[in-house]
Subunit: 389 residues, 2 copies
C-alpha cells in the first residue's frame, strides 16, 4: 500500500530551447555576489560559459568562479569551494554543468555557513543542515542524475575511497531554479549521453524493484521507463534529435526528484555497488551502474519474481502466455540486456579498470541498504562483483 | 516535441492516515486569524470538523467560518466569503473538503485584497492577481479535482448560467500545503466516489488526447490511467479498501497538477461541455463529464486516430493484430465504456436533468477551446450534446 509520506519539490524549472533567457528573471531575486560553478571547461568551448557570463554581467553581478569540478567531485574540491564561496560572501551559487557540478554546488551550499566539518556532519552522520544555506541555481548541460530537482549530493573522499551520496530530507537543499535546455546537451559525446541514459533508467529501477504492492508510483515508473526506451533508441541513432533529447531530459528530472518513490520501499543497491566501483576506478557514474546491473538483478530476481514478471510484461512487452514466472522474468532481463548493448553501455567492471584483486576492497566500501528483495550479505556482494568482472 | 515550458509546484503534501497531525507543523507558520472553509456539513458528521477545530484551538488560532460551500460554488457565495475573510483579517484560509471547497477557497484568496470585481477580473478577463494573496491550506476529504495541488478555481455565476474555471498561471495561487488522508474519503457515498474517479480519468484524457508527439507526458499519463483503472475496480467492489483509495487519491493529485500537460497541447472540451451542462443542471461535476465523454470522443476520434489507437493498446491492452486503425480505436473506446458502466457512471445528460429544449442554451455557454483533434463549431457541439441525451 501507499505508505505515509510527505512530498514537496519547489524547484522552478525552465525547460526548452529559450530557457536560458529566464536567468534574467531569476537573478534579480538574489544579491550581487554570485559564484559560478562548473567543470572541466567544456562550457567554454561550446559557448555556454560566455552566454551565462553575459547575462550575469547584464544583471550587475559580481562573479567569482569555482572551476574544474570533476565527474566524481572530491572532498578536497569541496573544501576548496567552501572557501571560495565564503570569501566571496556568495548570495547565489550558480551551477553550470551536469549532475556532478550540481551535486557539488549543493554540497557547498549546505557547508558555507556550517560550523562543523562537512564530511563528518553530512556524509558520515547524515545530518540535515542547521545553518543558513546559500541558494543554488542550475543551468543543466548534461542529463541523467536528476540533481537539478532534488536534494541529493554525492561526494567522493579520495583518501578513504568512499563515494557517498546524501539525499537531504529538506526541500531547502533543492535548487531554487533549474534551466533545462535540451540543446545544451547535444554536444555531449555519445559515451556520456548513453551513460546518462542508463543512469536515468537505473534510478527508476532502484525505486521500482522494491515492495510488493500495485501502487501508483510503480505505474508512473513504467510510463517513464517506456518513454526513456523509446527516446533513447532514437537518440542512439541520431543524437541530434531534439525531440528525443528533450524527452530524455524531462524523464531524467522525474526519475529522481522523489516522485516515484513516494509511499513505497526502494532499493539502491545498484548505486551502492556502482559507487563503490566508482570510488576505486573513477569511472563514469552511469557506466559503473550498467556494469553491475544485470549480475545484480539476475541475482535478486528469484526473491522478487512478481515484480520482475511485471517489469517484463509492462515495460518490455514480453508476452507471458504459456511461460513460467521465471521464463517471463528472464525474458524481461534479456530484453533489457539487448537494449543496453544496443546503446553501447559498458557491461562489465573489467572494462572500467576493476580487477579481481580489487573485489574485496570494493566490497568493503559497498554500503548495504535495506529495501531490496534480498538484503545482501558480504558474500552476496562479492559474488555479484565477480559476476560483473 | 516537448515545447518550451515552465514548471513549479511548491505545495507541500502530507499523505497518509496520520497526515492530519502535520497541521500542527503548518499552523505556526501563519498568523492567528484563520478562516475555516467547508461545505454542507458532512465534516461535522464524520468528526473531521472536530479534529481540525481541536488542532486549531491547540495552536491558539482565532477561527471564523465560511460554511455551506456548495458543489458548484456560486459567485454570490464567493462575494459572501470575501467579506467574511476581510472582516476577520484572515492570515490563513483553511479549506476542509473536496475540490469545490478548495477551488472556492483559492477564489477567496485572490479576491480579498483585490480592488476590482473578482468575477470580471478573474473569470471574464482571466487576469492574474496583482494583490497580496491570503495563504491557503487544504485538508482534502473528497478526491478528484486535483485542486489540492494546482492553481485552478471554478466558479459558477448563477445569473448568467456560466460555470468558468480559471487556472491561474502563478504558483502563488496554489495551496501552501495540503493534507491528504485517504481515510477521510472512505465515508463518501459510492456515487460521489465514482464521480471523482471519472473526473480524474477525464483530467488525464483531456491532456492526453491532443498533439501528435510521442512525449514523456503521454507516457506518464498512460501510467496514471492504468493505475487508476486498477485501483478503481478494487474500490468499486470494496470502497473501504485503503490501498485502492490511497492510490486513487494520489493519482488524482498528479492528474491535474500541471505535470502531464508540460510541453504539449491539451484539449479541455469535455470539461467545457460538462461545465455547460453543470451550469444548467447543477449536476455532480464528474457525472457531467461522464455523460458527454463518449459522444465527444467518438466524434473526434477520426481526427486523432493515431492517439486513439495508442490509447487502446497502451491503456486498455487491446490487441492490435489484424485490425484496422479504426477498429483498434473503437475497441479502446468500447473498453472504456464497459469500465464506465461497471463503475455505475451516468452515461447521458438526460439522467442529469438536461432536456432537448436546453441543448441550444447549453451550446451557447459552452466555451470552445483549441487544442483538440477537431476544433468544434456550434453545430458540432449541438450534435455531441444531442448524442449525449
Amino acid at each position: 500500500m501507499l505508505g505515509n509520506f510527505t512530498y514537496c519539490n519547489p524547484t522552478k524549472l525552465y525547460f526548452g530551447e529559450d530557457s536560458l533567457n529566464y536567468l534574467n528573471t531569476e537573478l534579480p531575486k538574489y544579491g550581487d555576489n554570485v559564484v559560478l560553478v562548473y567543470g572541466g571547461g567544456s562550457i567554454k568551448k561550446n559557448g555556454i560559459y560566455d552566454m551565462v557570463m553575459e547575462i550575469l554581467k547584464k544583471n550587475g553581478k559580481n562573479v567569482a568562479e569555482i572551476s574544474g569540478v570533476m565527474p566524481n567531485p572530491t572532498l578536497a574540491k569541496l573544501y576548496e569551494g567552501i572557501e571560495i564561496a565564503r570569501k566571496h560572501q556568495a548570495n547565489l551559487l550558480l551551477a553550470v554543468g551536469g549532475g556532478s557540478v550540481c551535486d557539488y554546488t549543493k554540497a557547498v551550499s549546505v557547508s558555507v555557513n556550517c560550523q562543523e566539518d562537512a564530511w563528518e556532519k553530512y556524509y558520515l552522520r547524515f545530518e540535515e543542515p542547521d545553518c543558513e544555506l546559500i541558494p543554488v541555481g542550475c543551468v543543466l548541460t548534461m542529463v541523467g542524475t536528476g540533481s537539478e530537482m532534488n536534494a541529493g549530493a554525492v561526494i567522493t573522499n579520495q583518501e578513504t575511497k568512499q563515494k557517498i551520496g546524501h539525499v537531504f530530507a529538506s526541500e531547502d537543499v533543492m535548487p531554487k531554479f533549474s534551466i533545462l535546455n535540451p540543446k545544451f546537451t547535444l554536444t555531449l559525446p555519445h559515451y556520456q549521453m548513453v551513460a546518462g541514459i542508463y543512469d536515468i533508467f537505473n534510478h527508476i529501477c532502484e525505486q521500482y524493484f522494491s515492495g510488493e504492492d500495485d501502487n501508483t508510483s510503480d505505474y508512473i515508473s513504467e510510463g517513464l521507463m517506456r518513454s526513456l526506451l523509446h527516446a533513447s533508441r532514437i537518440a542512439n541513432q541520431n543524437p541530434q534529435d531534439y525531440e528525443a533529447r528533450s524527452n530524455i531530459m524531462w524523464t531524467a528530472t522525474w526519475a529522481l526528484n522523489t516522485l516515484v518513490s513516494r509511499g513505497k520501499a526502494t532499493d539502491w543497491m545498484v548505486h551502492m555497488l556502482g559507487q563503490a566501483v566508482g570510488g576505486y576506478t573513477n569511472a563514469t557514474h552511469g557506466m559503473t551502474l550498467s556494469a553491475v546491473s544485470l549480475p545484480y538483478y539476475r541475482y535478486i530476481m528469484p526473491y522478487g519474481i512478481e515484480k520482475f514478471k511485471r517489469f517484463a510484461v509492462n515495460v518490455w512487452d514480453v508476452n507471458p502466455e504459456g511461460k513460467s514466472d521465471r521464463q517471463i522474468a528472464e525474458e524481461g532481463l534479456a530484453a533489457m540486456e539487448s537494449w543496453m548493448k544496443e546503446l553501447g553501455l559498458v557491461m562489465n567492471i573489467t572494462e572500467l579498470g576493476a580487477t579481481e584483486e580489487m573485489i574485496e576492497g570494493i566490497a568493503d566500501v559497498t554500503a548495504v541498504l535495506p529495501g531490496g528483495y534480498k538484503v545482501l550479505a558480504r558474500e552476496d556482494i562479492i559474488r555479484i562483483l565477480r559476476e560483473s568482472l
